[in-house]
């Protein structure tokens, strides 16, 4: 507290310092008498965050806890309210089923394909948006448009593009005599996945591009000037300076996009209803729950989906993201 009043200048950006200051304030609690406001501030902080935390516990933690309970029971499809405790049976039968592993593999295939395309395209787009040229503002607006679109609409848009006779892509392909012109894309294994990946890339590459662009813009111009003065070529500059400095932004985009891709639901739901090798983990849980009314099995599948996504995020944070920890550090 004392530190705060003594230095009214702009607070240095270093967040380590703010952390140190906090601990200083805490240890000095007994010693100095100026800590009345310090304590008031802490109390206020608790009161301001409590409503949100309670609300989030109610809408996130309680349902997930209840899902755990549901997943340990079997519910009668015919008689409402009739149930029996079955322990982990729902999990063992899910993990032994072909459907779960198929959905698991398809979800990861989708996530792997779409996220890698989005990162490559997103980096290219970001580099483009970072160039100073006439029409850059227009390009940014245009690129941003698909991002704001309702996912269901982006699914429908790509459905119109790939319809056998009506579609632009199918027509162009057959006009050029290329394979795929006479294929019902959404009705064929493999092709259906390609459309879903494309629809996702179309809608979410702007997000990756803007995150990476923000990373590009904080690389100082002087760094580039120095590289240029040292005679580094454009490619050398890109590989040895731009990419390493962009790594945190790219990893962050990868994390956000992967977490999102692993819960994919809307696109396959609208485009294929999960047919032709496109059923995702979320879709499988949904169809057990809603269409087959298997509450116990559906809950077990949704918990499995949840655990899978969380496991991937932990792996990411462990191995790829020193920068996620930095983000967390900034928040202290």
């Amino acid at each position: 507290m004392t530190l705060k009043t003594l230095s009214p200048g702009p607070r240095p950006a270093g967040d380590v310092r703010s952390k140190r200051r906090t601990s200083l304030g805490r240890s000095g609690l007994k010693a100095s008498g100026t800590n009345v406001r310090d304590r008031a501030e802490r109390r206020l902080a608790v009161r301001m965050t409590a409503p949100s935390l309670i609300l989030m516990a109610l809408v996130a933690a309680v349902p997930i806890g209840y899902a755990l309970w549901l997943s340990l029971n079997q519910y009668s499809v015919r008689t409402a309210g009739l149930s029996r405790f079955v322990g982990l049976d729902n999990y063992s039968s899910a993990l032994a089923s072909h459907e779960w592993w198929a959905a698991f593999g398809q979800t990861f295939l989708f996530a792997g394909l779409s996220v890698s395309l989005e990162l490559v395209l997103g980096t290219a787009m970001a580099l483009l948006l970072n160039l100073a040229f006439k029409g850059r503002a227009l390009l940014r607006t245009v690129v941003l448009l698909p991002y704001a679109i309702v996912t269901v609409v982006s699914a429908i848009t790509w459905e119109t593009m790939f319809q056998p006779n009506l579609g632009l892509v199918t027509n162009v392909l057959s006009a050029l005599g290329l394979p795929g012109g006479d294929v019902a894309w959404l009705g064929e294994q493999g092709y259906a996945m390609a459309v879903i990946v494309l629809a996702d890339v179309w809608k979410t590459t702007p997000f990756a591009a803007l995150l990476i662009l923000a990373g590009l813009q904080v690389i100082s111009a002087e760094t580039y000037e120095a590289a240029e003065l040292d005679g580094a070529g454009k490619w050398q500059t890109f590989v040895h300076i731009t990419l390493p400095l962009l790594r945190p932004a790219i990893v962050l985009a990868a994390i956000f996009r992967t977490m999102d891709a692993l819960r994919v639901f809307d696109l396959p739901f609208v485009l294929t209803r999960g047919a032709n090798g496109t059923e995702s983990m979320s879709m499988l849980a949904y169809s057990q729950l809603r269409e087959n009314r298997l509450i116990g099995e559906g809950s077990a599948l949704s918990i499995l989906t949840f655990l899978t996504v969380m496991a991937v995020s932990i792996v990411y944070i462990r191995f790829a993201g020193g920068n996620i920890r930095e983000v967390a550090k900034e928040d202290q």
């Binding site: 702009p10 301001m48 409503p51 997930i64 609208v270 900034e330």
Partner: protein, 318 residues
């Protein structure tokens, strides 16, 4: 590599007096190249773009825009022309739009979507503005842990919330109602709002609170009278982002509704789609899609800067 960076710092130090690249770039394309010497200090791509770069620009623009065009094109076709891939509809018709606006189901879905998105956004913003301020500015224990928890909720798969909510709501009668959708949607709207707002609050200069404190304000008064009015742009940005994400949300909406009474637009369109696998009313669906896309496009055109700053807020620090 190491030599490059080592010399880089010295060169950078010697170069401080020069305008930065971005500063020069804002002078526009009228600046003569070569003014600062033989191309050494030329802007990245400022003078002349490689023709291949232009090809790439055009490709990116087409990739973004052509699907929209095709959606509109499809929405202007009916009957047999829906089976043809004409680049321009030979007999454009607004019939599809007329039938969409004539459908009470679609209008009801619009109403539901607006109510759900507005209420969820407002509730999330009210709760989040307090929490975000405390997390951004006040002294507090376990701040890092709390923020990590909040951030991790945004990565939860919605099915893990939807599945139990489906059972709970059917038991207590909230299934297939608007409140029954608004409450679970807060699960994702609230953390998004808190996270975005926290980074906006951090950007407000600290001196403002300091001087409020010196004037005798309590921390809460400083928040309410000084910070909150200044945070209006950040609040607006957050509201836009939360609104878009709630408007787009599909899984909770499709799991927790069963009739047009509570169905929001994305679900209504998806079920429009699903009547039969072989005879799809693709023209009408496209028209409905265009209709709900127009407001979002306008939003992007008007609030582009806000959306971009909100999307990247907190992600990468300068």
């Amino acid at each position: 590599m190491s030599t490059v960076t080592a010399t880089g710092t010295t060169a950078a130090r010697a170069d401080r007096s020069h305008p930065t690249r971005r500063g020069v770039a804002s002078l526009g394309p009228g600046r003569r190249p070569g003014k600062f010497g033989p191309g050494k200090r030329r802007l990245r791509g400022e003078a002349r773009l490689h023709p291949l770069v232009w090809v790439f620009v055009v490709a990116v623009m087409s990739f973004s825009l052509v699907p929209f065009y095709w959606l509109i094109n499809t929405s202007l076709k009916t009957g047999s022309s829906l089976g043809e891939g004409e680049l321009f509809p030979s007999q454009p018709t607004l019939d599809n739009y007329v039938s969409v606006f004539g459908s009470s189901e679609f209008l009801l879905a619009m109403r539901n979507s607006v109510i759900i998105a507005v209420v969820t956004t407002c509730v999330a913003l009210i709760f989040a503005s307090f929490a975000a301020y405390a997390l951004a500015r006040l002294k507090m224990r376990r701040k890092g842990l709390i923020l990590t928890l909040i951030l991790s909720v945004t990565t939860f798969p919605a099915i893990a919330i939807a599945a139990p909510m489906f059972s709970i709501w059917r038991e207590i009668g909230l299934y297939d109602t608007l409140p029954g959708l608004i409450i679970p949607k807060l699960t994702f709207a609230l953390p998004l709002a808190i996270y975005t707002l926290t980074s906006f609050f951090r950007e407000i200069p600290r001196e403002l609170e300091e001087s409020a404190y010196i004037d005798g304000a309590s921390p809460f008064q400083a928040f309410r009278k000084v910070i909150l009015p200044l945070a209006v742009p950040g609040l607006a940005t957050t509201a836009i982002l939360v609104f878009i994400s709630v408007w787009n949300e599909f899984l909770l909406a499709v799991t927790l509704t069963t009739s047009p009474a509570a169905r929001p637009v994305p679900v209504a369109i998806a079920f429009f789609n699903g009547t039969s696998e072989f005879d799809q009313p693709l023209g009408t669906i496209s028209a409905a899609s265009v209709i709900i896309t127009v407001p979002l496009v306008v939003l992007v055109l008007v609030c582009q800067k806000r959306i971009v700053s909100g999307m990247t807020a907190g992600a990468v620090k300068g």
